[in-house]
Symmetry: D2
């Protein structure tokens, strides 16, 4: 599977084309809208989330509630495009003194793509950069991921993302008994945290940051259960599924790190406490007694839950300004303030969940017999049987 | 640029083909052998490193010390292949009672690709898995990276990998004044650690682990200086260079996490202490006053040093055995001991350095005018000028 | 550069996302609409071409008449979608006796994707196949090609497609003095034929076919002038530009062959009459005295005009029916007649032209320094100088 | 599946790495050597074919006669490398007056990659181009294809290439009763022609060309039987299997055209005589009464025999010289004569066969469940059943 996305933050719409989804899979707009709505929630979001309730239009690839096998096109309109037609219009400007020209951005914000992007693409108006580098683009990454998540769910693979740290506050209690419980509790939490007490502290930390004109980041964990063993491959470095997950997480706006299983803790423990012993039971087949390696050995799934964490830096658009330099005057300035969120980690958790869903679904589609959803399902079940009886 | 690798750990040889290297670039076997030798050093390595002194043969793509533009083939022979021709031979076995059959492996080692790989590819003899999943393969990833590193060096991009943590011992003193100093000091350190005192503690920790029949992991940091600004791109998620680095590091055998700049620390600090203020000076152009983001904003280089860290888990082959299950008898057993290293982090640092070199060089070759080395160099210099005068 | 397309023939719209176009290139809707209009013309087209005047909407990647460097999204609405919302709707059907179900297609047409596509994707209603396999999709391949053609034109590369054969009638007079003359004359010809007399015979052949309830195909030739020498590469088989052109032409609906330069005639002539002698003149540099090889040697451009021809089979939807088999009843039937064109070769010439434009533009963008249009232009000019002074 | 090749014509060896071949498939050196030997035969070949009997070494990916799933490395040594170590050595030259420098090539041959390649890669010594652009490289494309052909054969897909035209002499009698008969007869023919009488004329034409110091080309046809229906796809232009075959054929050295089924004849016949009527029989399923479309509809296999033809131009290295220009002196000269074949079409037929085999095998591996050879086989058989019972 592959997909491309297009769209500027204040352009008419965001679009994605997904190519390679099996035919005959149930998929409706609601499946996608649910994920879009989850992405827009979260304690600490700014005003824009209220303006825009994102809704998807399916413009290709689905008929009567099922995938056709042909490319799927998904569109999410920007509701405030009507206010931006002058500034973001496609046609050449007649009037060089227009608002669009006046709204030219010559002041790069620290921590954003503004300056590097301007240098790379030769833009003197950095609006040409920030319109695309904006996290608004994750809307359609979520839309693509939602389709992937539906595919996984129909194949018995479930995933949940939750927030394990915000602004230095860590979730302590992670003793959920099932993925379902984790989902239910975190879905109710404004910060997507399973540990209610920690969640309250996180909200307090967000309030504090907002009061200071500052922002805070955090750590998201995605857990996926139900993947068959042996997805991914050790035979060539670029086929390792953990590597693909790492790239996917790191490519989300503002993410600076990714780890699998116990991750960086592996540097502090002896091998005898890091690796997972292998056991076998009649009817169940092989399993690991622990899951410190987070569901991966040799770049392949072990059949244990996949556990991947990513760290999101604080949003760089601060009310408490940082120094930067105007690219025209070369004069320093305090970086301009736009409306902003104090913390976007809960929303980013939804992005992570859907981005991981995409990689897992892609891996299944690429590895199995996937023109039709029924053959994909049948060959995955065969793989599960093979693993159990091996 | 792209490359493929082939080769089993006890097969006749390892091979890589590199496609897309510019023509007219100086490259000799010594450039590659230097890196191969560095990979074989390191406190805590086992016996195999003494047996085999890896040397490259260039079998295509180079003539009279310069790249031709055609694919480069590099071969590293396995010196003990002569002892393995029976067990690892290419031709069908005549004698079903031969040693090769007797040496069949039915006992998967925890933490290795053995079991998942066997299930995936249908191998009842797990030698068929471990021969390829072995870290021996990193030999030719280093060979490919060495060619990339040469290209970078000729373009004014230098990189050094050093060890910042082993078995819970962290380097404290990282106050090197230049990349050159960092290189010189770490090149002399048996654990590739800049902090001599910490280095000694690391060695003690390795000795301790070895004594306990255990293993330890650690954290490697790669620093690259000299990359022009604007390499990578924010316009599409799969073009972000930090994402590619994450995949590259995570795909090294035994790596479980990767972070850029301050990485996971970004979850614990307010935005005002995470982002790097932008400054400008006549003749120098733009720069950041700090480098917490590790040389990346928006998936692109900022022109500041690239800082990427990866965590390596302890080697899973322990003298202190873990429980596993024989796939034929389904009986539990204590995982078999082969000769092993107690700590491979110093060697893995060399792998990281070369793997990062590959990604950076690829990004330059893909982005600039790179059929010829001279045009690549000229367009990169133009990019640097553009960035400085922007 | 890469692009994906989506859209069903009677769905709401066709969409393409183009990724990798350089920033700062002028591009407006009119550039694309011109090509869409050319595609809809041509003697022998059926009724649908009158219903729908295709017009593009640019929904991403362009601002104020210039490319941003971010992905470009282009949409062409299907004007009669309003009549198809029931049959082609995205949501599940409530009423199983609805028209959509009644309009189920169980009769595969010979020469179409219907039967193979149904088997592959498991569709019992072959509308699920034909909606995507329809040549309607070429609308957005032309849209993507139009953007590529604009890029080429701004770089001094011009191309023209013309019809050299229809239904066995061959153009005899091809003595145009310039590409401009070829363009002007063929643009006026209802069959895009330079030879006016042959053009009249072609139209008579089309009339005759229509009268017989039959269809006819033909041969299209694309000529491109101005490409620098050395685009493409001999170093690896999948980098040969003539190979990419062959794939691009063969992948157009109904195309069954492709040839370059004298093509299949090369089997009938001695080598001394096939190869082009090399000459050199001060100020002009190298050139070939003839151009039998159609602008390619070793998978690379020679700097001479590129000449590529493709053959289009007659449209398979005939009034004169062919036998086929109903997939439900397994009874034979005479293949159903839908409104159809008797000859689509003139329109297909426009598709060819734009598809070739895409491949040439992609090759330039991939090979040169192409983040910005100005650097692309500068490095291509440098390449031309290098070739001239070599 | 993917593969890379490396190697210069007079370098030490040719190498290919094949990645993605299923595990557990029987494959031995003899399978590959058979194809290498077939490639070296053929009436009209020059002296080099006698010097070198190509034999493959398998250096990775195979153990005890079976594929491991890991990358396969194949090496073919150049037997006369020992005479070329000075001219083609990898290390820098000490002596600037050495033979290597004296053997510098400044005279580009018409019809070869020499001049374009030199301009592209900046080589003043065109040996740096011709060593790689040489058809010697097809040796390892055949080796990779031989592995693919073995896979196809084990899956019940057989293919045969035969020569249908040389130097204007066409095979008239093509009334073979089975692919096996076609193979047996053409395998005995020095020109790989089924029509014995035409074969004799072809040999006479080759003799005549040789006498004149000239060369001739021809047309090769590849027929593949046994592919299941629905391989390839209509859903996206770059997934059409006929397009991939076109690219593969066109990328063989000296090929200038490719057609499928009746190919260019489709421009001369009405639709009613071009398309293949669909029929159905109990137990057999669907079939076409004719096979004018050569096994493809909508970019997918129909289950009928695949028929693809390619045209090879005469070898450009003539005893009867063509004019060219010395790139140093800019003086015209008569293009230098090296030992050469008068006709390489019979050998090119073997290349075509193996190159087509690669594309077909890749399409199967990519589409089905292909980690293990047994699952690949089972899912392809399921596809055949589905097609039959559809």
């Amino acid at each position: 599977m592959r997909y491309l996305t297009a769209g500027e933050s204040h352009g008419p719409q965001l679009t994605t084309i997904i190519e390679g989804m099996p035919a005959g899979m149930p998929l409706i707009a609601e499946d996608i809208n649910n994920e879009l709505a989850r992405r827009q929630k979260g304690y600490g979001r700014g005003r824009r989330m209220q303006i825009e309730k994102d809704e998807v239009q399916i413009t290709a690839g689905i008929r009567h509630g099922q995938t056709l096998g042909s490319p799927i096109a998904l569109v999410v309109e920007n509701n405030d495009w009507k206010h931006w037609t002058g500034i973001m219009g496609q046609e050449p400007l007649d009037d060089p003194s227009s608002e669009a020209v006046k709204r030219k951005i010559s002041r790069p914000r620290p921590g954003h793509a503004d300056l590097n992007g301007a240098i790379k693409y030769g833009h003197r108006d950095m609006r040409n950069v920030l319109e695309r580098s904006s996290a608004r683009e994750t809307t359609v990454r979520v839309a693509a991921g939602a389709a992937a998540k539906k595919l996984l769910s129909l194949l018995g693979v479930e995933l949940v993302a939750h927030v394990v740290e915000i602004g230095g506050v860590k979730a302590q209690n992670l003793s959920y008994s099932s993925l379902e419980e984790l989902r239910e509790v975190t879905e109710e939490s404004p910060v997507r945290c399973f540990d209610t007490a920690a969640g309250k502290e996180m909200m307090a930390a967000i309030d504090e940051a907002k009061k200071n004109g500052d922002t805070i980041g955090g750590v998201v964990e995605v857990i996926a259960e139900g993947m068959p063993a042996g997805v991914g491959s050790y035979v060539h470095y670029d086929r390792k599924l953990d590597g693909k997950l790492a790239a996917a997480i790191m490519s989300i706006n503002a993410f600076k790190g990714v780890e699998i299983g116990i991750g960086f803790e592996a540097a502090r423990k002896p091998g005898s406490q890091v690796h997972d012993e292998i056991a076998w039971e009649e009817g169940r087949g092989y399993f690991r007694k622990t899951n410190r390696l987070g569901g991966f050995e040799g770049g392949m799934t072990t059949g244990m839950p996949i556990v991947v964490r990513g760290v999101m830096k604080p949003i760089p658009t601060l009310y408490k300004p940082l120094l930067s330099v105007d690219i025209d005057s070369k004069e320093p300035f305090s970086a301009s303030i736009e409306r902003s969120d104090a913390c976007a980690v809960p929303a980013a958790a939804v992005v992570c969940e859907n981005v991981v869903a995409w990689e897992l679904a892609s891996a299944l589609v690429d590895q199995f017999y996937a023109d039709r959803f029924d053959t994909l399902k049948a060959t995955i079940e065969e793989q599960r049987r093979t693993a159990r009886d091996f």
